[in-house]
Symmetry: D2
């Protein structure tokens, strides 16, 4: 976060125990500095008693001054909070195996400036997608994984996260399961796309099981990765219609478009700081 | 099935082991009698090796003659088949508890001639919906159910099925679980609406569990009832979008509209003979 | 608006020229009285320079005191504003012709407490829907309309609006076109459902024209009525998929379900004060 | 079309005046040669009196023999018909300007074997997308267009169509309007994607006009190109939801994903011979 003498467009996200006075305090702090709110959303969860807020604003004061103004409020109201620049491209590592559709969409959207991420590396346990990464000017790292080499592979990934300053890891149909250790090390920073409408069809081969069950809709779910496979907080889901004529291969083909869309939306919202954690659920200020 | 001297618009549905010659045989039989096909759909399932067909046609011959023409084909090709009049209103019993939304839609659609069913009775284990049935001119039967009285209640229902000639029983948010015996007695003739997107959230309180899981879509599923709760062949499903702001009550309210739509579609397709059984799945010639 | 000694759950809506300080002022006023915000949404339109806000809050002060607190702010910031009780059922007149689907849904939703309106009268230019209104305990007024009697008919309607205290008039597939005079007299208080996806197929027989055009989706649009037919600010729209097999009658049947849904959503949001006017468009704080 | 001694999987499409006997004749011809139908769909349009059919089958006879069998039927029943190999990749030219999203999706789908086309050339009136075409190994032709050079540019395109044997031209957000002459020369072989839900917002800047109108849904339409701009037979449409918060740029970004999807579906169906012309409408055997 740098100081900006001219107009600074920032985004503040916070969660805390719900109580009166939070909004007045934030609005007051902004107004006191002649700031202007460009977007503001909030939610008080009656079940958990938590309050969530996402405020975008423009001020001409230095970022440090803004921080100094907000810090006492954060302490007073016990915020879990974050202050960032609107539109800052989040350094991101995308992990892939062989399927290209999700990676292709993320790289395309990033280049078209529709996704506020900066893909600093693509990591594949196979080499298949190296040329796609190269086309988009992104370094590709081939990190194979076997049962024996998994710890070293995960260590290599963590090292890459550190060396690149990656703040987000996206599993774009990456087929290896992350160890509990890695999940905890990267908690809150890993987004996965699961090719089913969770909680239906957790685990492997969801399209085959969906086809066998005779469902009339298939779906995809993007979620934060936790140690429990496919159980992490859901960010976004979507579906498409299938029918008796379609083979499993056709389910897969159709599903790939849903996966692509759902993952790209989730990554965009996360990068825009629109997703806040609410226990095992998410608040999405879309 | 009655004989009709003038133009007879009938619908034939059949399933059988897939093999060459079925279509030619059916089309030939129709053409031989100067008949005209008004709609025809077919599907060969490579997984089960079964062939399915639904043909609507118009002929001027007597229905008995048509039957006599088709019966040898049915034997030759080992059909499981049905011949009916297009648009014949299927005698139907609707079972309800307290929630009115599904019943209200079915009765309204029936009166508007959008649903080819004839509701011969509404059965409720509570009395709440008696006036709604009465408004639509349908007899209401209050058949309460407790753990002790369940066998008698089910016997009463079966007797009603017989006395009314009902060919279809629709569980319109009927909250009692049918016994295995009843399921088998009415096999293939009972359609239920489950208020979740199966196989997610089988059983009780699906909206509460969906809300707790933090899903971003809720759904409803209509299916044929089998002895396994919520496991029967799925006929239709649909969803609607929810978000973090919505309470469980709001999930329920939104979900009721999905339930209503999904059940009405399923009942319409079944009554139009558009749904064929394919193992534990359905072929829906919509 | 009555004074409430206990907890008063109110909703404030406002629009005004956008400028810094509005949110702090509102939040401050609420906090000063020990109030708690239960929901808050806002939007600043960069195109029109207008600011919109909808705040729900709970305070224990008298309503008059709250008004007294807000009035100076309203003057200072030049608000167009409204303060009402959350959940107050808006007195509503529903106008119909022969088609029952929209009326049936509104009356059903109202009785199920899903629609915060109180239907004080149903007005039909035909008598067909009298029994439906009666079933729901709502007075039915048959006000026929011919080219000659239109002025008297509209005068009768206006008189009914006044005598019932109706704050909203819903045209639920009412087939007469309101005169410019009536539109102006009831400006902002009349919601219509048009059976197409505007701006496609304005005017008469939209399903026939959609069928002829060979569109693959049909839709419905609810909007505020203005003197320009089908041009008023759009509140909500939705669609459903059609195909080459469907006749015009099937378009109509499918479309009725979209009309029903779209109209009910629009009426609910209006009654909850979630719809604000933004020139010829709407802001919908759904 | 080549002769195939082993199993030949072919697809027959036909349209003709509706009359009894067509299906029996086709089914009979197939059965006579020991063939097996793998998919069959048909539709008789009561409005136009036309009959449409798409049959996929497998036979072991030579293609010439099959043709010889079908030709007399074609004459007898006055078919407009086509016989092709299932899965044959249709030689296709894609025309682009600057926007990459549609081209990117078509090339990606083609490489993933999800689109039965063979892109023989990409033609752009700008050079921007040359590298994308090159990445996918497809020749890129820069054919600039000004008011003066348009006839030569179109002649160059026609020459390319001939030299490559292209059977389909896809306008993937190509911003030049084709002349009447070119439209007629390529009649039935040009698919365009228009970035609105036709017939709303024909012509230029549809997203700006949609944004100004305050619609709550935006859409895209793929259609065959005729001399009347944006009037050609519609193949497919889809929509996505927008709201008051979204700027025109956000409409455009969201709309691009709809355009991409709708165009790819239309091209796939056309290439699979699933789209038949029915006057100014299409029959889509999807």
């Amino acid at each position: 976060m740098t100081t900006t003498p001219a107009s600074d467009h920032w985004v503040l996200t916070l969660s805390c125990p719900d109580r009166p006075g939070i909004v007045r305090a934030v609005a007051g702090a902004i107004a006191d500095h002649g700031g202007n709110i460009t977007e503001s959303k909030q939610f008080g969860d009656p079940d958990t008693g938590l309050f969530f807020m996402r405020v975008q604003g423009e001020t001409t004061i230095a970022r440090d001054t803004l921080l100094a103004t907000l810090t006492p409020l954060a302490e007073q109201f016990e915020w879990t909070w974050n202050l960032d620049t609107v539109g800052r491209r989040i350094p991101t590592i995308i992990m892939v195996s062989k399927a290209a559709h999700a990676l292709n969409d993320l790289l395309f959207q990033q280049r078209a400036a529709r996704l506020p991420i900066e893909v600093v590396a693509v990591v594949g346990n196979h080499n298949d997608l190296a040329d796609l990464a190269t086309f988009y000017g992104v370094p590709f790292h081939h990190i194979p994984v076997t049962a024996d080499t998994k710890p070293q592979a995960e260590a290599e990934l963590l090292a890459l996260v550190q060396s690149t300053g990656a703040e987000l890891v996206v599993l774009a149909r990456y087929m290896q399961v992350l160890s509990d250790t890695l999940c905890r090390a990267l908690e809150g920073r890993v987004i996965n796309i699961h090719h089913s409408f969770l909680p239906s069809f957790k685990g492997a081969r969801p399209y085959h099981r969906a086809h066998d069950r005779g469902v009339k809709l298939i779906g995809a779910t993007s979620h934060y990765v936790t140690a429990d496979l496919d159980e992490g907080p859901i960010i976004e889901q979507d579906i498409d219609r299938v029918d008796h004529e379609m083979s499993v291969e056709e389910f897969i083909a159709l599903g790939q478009d849903v996966e692509r869309r759902v993952l790209s939306r989730a990554v965009a919202w996360h990068a825009q700081h629109r997703v806040l954690m609410n226990g095992h659920k998410t608040v999405v200020f879309r």
